[in-house]
Symmetry: C2
Subunit: 399 residues, 2 copies
């Protein structure tokens, strides 16, 4: 299958660099907007003074500000409903998310919920598609999900803890202020989880059944190589501007789809990980570090040469021309070692997951059983159990 026809429009206005967020008020006012919902999470943005600073700039520009904080990791429908009600009542015309992926995804849900007569959840179950949205702005504090430039949003229904996603170009943020210095104070674990998430967004696109996509292969490799280089620097020296800046921009490019155009991504690992996050309350990035090596080992034989390319171009392995599979495995080994080097778990035991839960985990994965999970090589529930089992055992070489 040759390169796939595609449509692409990524109109987000990026304002990147030191003090970027100081222009929030002016920029929103220049769009002709008047009433802003300031959406955020917990205390860190408050404590750091960022929230106060942003509020000040909004008010200086003559904007009305309504605050809605308290977004949790895995943002909940209940707070989104509250946000929609506030926006309608106060006639809000711009939503400003200050935070990471959860805050942004919550803001996106509010943005499409406000002009919609039904329940916003319809957009997440696929029962309806958004046809209008309030504009969303983002002051990013955590490079990870890429939501600041993406057309995606993932939210959780409190009842039953159902996690569902919505994709629409209407929810690409209108403006994103990216100031790398805001990430200097991130805890190392969050920096590492973020880097893993960024890498995973590229990996999901890299392992494709589509042939003839050499340019996007190269672009994927470019982003991966840079994350692999800069994440350890950011961990060793949290105030290294260039490491933080490259990592932040990599997070955006990894998921605004410029590295995935014209090719089918896989996305199986994300679904498989999701059940770990749900059952054990483990961070998404950490769960991915456990699942990705296992998924790769399980899928290896389906396209050894693609894994060898990954090993050589991304992980600097020497190609074994007599035994490409050995090279392919070495690449996965190096990736797993890299995850460990940045403090990520790579086994069930490290995240408190249990082997006996595997049938339950596999049964819960959200998939169409007839089609299988993922597009690289679709997996059955039996395959998914096997992937979990590979993630469970330390000695997981499948050769």
């Amino acid at each position: 299958m040759s390169m796939i026809n595609f449509r692409f429009c990524a109109p987000t206005r990026y304002i990147f660099g030191v003090d970027a967020q100081l222009g929030v008020g002016e920029a929103i006012a220049s769009l002709g907007k008047r009433r802003v919902l300031l959406h955020y999470g917990g205390q860190s943005a408050q404590k750091s003074g960022l929230l106060g600073e942003v509020t000040g700039k909004l008010k200086e520009a003559g904007l009305d500000v309504v605050e809605l904080g308290g977004v949790q990791p895995n943002p909940r429908d209940t707070l989104i409903d509250e946000g929609i009600a506030i926006c309608r009542e106060r006639d809000v015309d711009f939503i400003l998310a200050v935070g990471g992926g959860s805050v942004i995804d919550s803001a996106k849900a509010i943005a499409i919920g406000v002009p919609y007569e039904g329940d916003f959840w319809d957009f997440y179950t696929g029962q309806a598609a958004p046809s209008a949205a309030l504009p969303v702005g983002v002051v990013l504090t955590l490079p990870a999900t890429g939501s600041e430039g993406s057309s995606r949003s993932v939210v959780t229904k409190e009842e039953g803890l159902l996690k569902r996603r919505c994709a629409s170009d209407l929810i690409r943020p209108a403006i994103a202020w990216l100031n790398p210095t805001l990430t200097y104070t991130l805890p190392p674990y969050q920096t590492a989880c973020g880097a893993t998430d960024i890498l995973s967004h590229v990996i999901e696109r890299y392992f494709t059944p589509t042939e003839g996509v050499s340019l996007t292969d190269r672009l994927c490799e470019a982003v991966m190589l840079d994350v692999i280089q800069n994440a350890p620097i950011a961990l060793a020296q949290p105030t290294d501007y260039d490491a933080r800046a490259n990592l932040m921009w990599a997070g955006t490019l990894a998921h605004n789809d410029v590295v995935g155009l014209g090719r089918m991504g896989d996305w199986g690992s994300h679904s498989i990980e999701h059940e770990l996050s749900a059952l054990y309350d483990v961070a998404h990035g950490a769960g991915l570090a456990v699942i990705l090596p296992a998924w790769m080992r399980y899928q290896l034989d389906c396209d050894v040469m693609r894994f060898a390319q990954f090993a050589v171009r991304v992980w600097g392995c020497e190609m074994d021309f007599r035994n490409p599979k050995r090279t392919a495995i070495e690449g996965i080994d190096r990736m797993e070692a890299w995850f460990r080097s940045i403090g990520m778990p790579t086994t069930f035991a490290e995240i408190g997951a249990k082997e006996e839960d595997i049938p339950l985990l596999a049964s819960k994965v959200d998939m169409d059983d007839a089609k299988g999970l993922g597009f690289f090589r679709p997996l059955s529930r039996k395959d998914i159990e096997a992937v979990y089992r590979l993630a469970c055992n330390r000695d997981r070489d499948v050769c």
Copy 2:
């Protein structure tokens, strides 16, 4: 100097793939537009049937169509003035360029000229900045200039043959239809000139004085590697879809600035080449193939390690750790050999340029003598003469 703060917004809607252009009418009508100026060049679009097909689709969608053909390479102000007059008279609300860079750049000039009371040329001399523009659409027939996604336009004033550029986000095309199969019938020389132009847009950004821009370095390398791989395939097998598709998309990414964000580009080679095109009527891409190796050899000592990185990562040279300069030179040699392999000239003699014209050429280069030309290492007119001289001699090794 660390990564530079940047602002970036690239809202062009891309419709990429087989038969992409069939949707022109519907897409323009859906924007609420009614009267289209169909702008094109010479006979090739007419002969191939493309122009008729596009016109048919526009009319099917109920759009009024006014035609203005005859755009020349190095598009002229006189035709642009004519286009502006037509648009005003006929109340045109959308300009559709069918062709390559010249047609697109001409369309962009018309687009900013229509709502402006003064002479559109003011935008190209820097005397005024555009504040409004008609939307421009593009059906691309030649991957080269990247104008289908860029914020730039270069046009020529007939009187005195002054070639000047304008840069504004207002002239980024609204929609670009990119159908790689339309490039199957390009003459090999045009394909090669286009590939060289694409490569040059990345090279101008790659050779930067900015430090700490590892991600954009990698992205530049990704695009260059892919052009180097696919251009020879497209030449050997003109109907190879994937080669044509990757080359076409590389042309867009090379110049919409995604590979140049946060870094200072050089752009000296473009100005030095421009005088060759002007004096000897040589194609821009061919002139670049002559100038780039010479510019590199002249600039080599200013940052040997950057040239070595270029040699190793882009041209696959083995790093000589004892003598990085040898590696750096090998990279330039390989680039020059690659240009020759795709049928490009690399010396003055091959394009009919004369050594005795060098003082004249150097004196004409459009530059601020106080600042020098380019940003990697600014060149004086004496330096520029030396670059021309290196392009003149076959035996041009400067070591």
